[in-house]
């Protein structure tokens, strides 16, 4: 799993119900590295329909975790770009830390 610079040790594990839904978790995982991605790239990475992608992005946007923008003036059809906000990055890292803690608990109980 890849985390950004400076996180990891200082990230406080915190479960985030908005992020935990599988498709939203995947979107955050994609954006945690790429920071910004085009709508079609997100959709293809998820392997779902436009409407599903749109719905999940709307939930993340309403939580303030992503920002949607449509740059104009580039000619042709304007594409929608999705950017992970600092709040979204913090929430994702906290959620990831919580998942890792939970997974470690499972490993201990199995071992």
């Amino acid at each position: 799993m890849v985390c950004g610079p400076g996180d990891g040790m200082t990230t406080r594990p915190e479960f985030d119900e908005v992020i935990h839904a599988p498709n939203r978790l995947k979107i955050c995982a994609l954006l945690a590295t790429a920071t910004t991605a085009e709508f079609g790239t997100v959709r293809d990475a998820l392997g779902v329909a436009d409407s599903v992608t749109s719905k999940q992005l709307k939930v993340l946007a309403e939580a303030g975790y992503v920002k949607l923008s449509k740059p104009t003036g580039t000619g042709g059809r304007a594409k929608t770009w999705v950017t992970l906000t600092p709040a979204g990055r913090r929430a994702f890292q906290g959620h990831l830390a919580m998942l890792q803690q939970m997974a470690a608990d499972i490993s201990q109980s199995v071992g």
């Binding site: 799993m1 610079p5 995982a29 994609l30 910004t36 990475a45 939970m102």
Partner: protein, 166 residues
Amino acid sequence: MTERDCYLSVMENNGEPTLHPSPEEARASLEDVRRMEADLADRMVTPWWYSTGLGLVEALMVSSMAFPDSARAPALVIGLAGLGLLVRSYQRLTGLGMSNQYFALARGWSVALVLVILVAFGVVLLVDQPLVTAATAVVVFVATVVLGRRADTAMRYRLRHGVRAR
């Protein structure tokens, strides 16, 4: 009921969240994240022209330090415009933005490249000789292409294998 069991586990269920904590879901979710990072690695194949173009831009900007005052500013403007064009072309091709996380994922190679460029700027500014400037520009170009590709490979390897950025 443990504290962990109290956490809400929201899974998609026809778009509606359901509440049911399951520790095993944590591992499944982490696996989803790992797969998404591996998928991202496949999408981030940098085209050959990117590092070549970046090498030319950097070579131009470094050598512009030795240009006459009247030519220096236009050379820097051309360099910056070229950089912008490269970034936009990369974004259009991959559907992905340029992120400082890429730098973190390939920190060693990226730092090496930055050092080469800084030293090159110093050499051109201190040794005002056309031959030295030309040789330095060539070194910057080659270093950008070689180190840029190494950084690209390292970044994708880390993403595919879930190696944490340090």
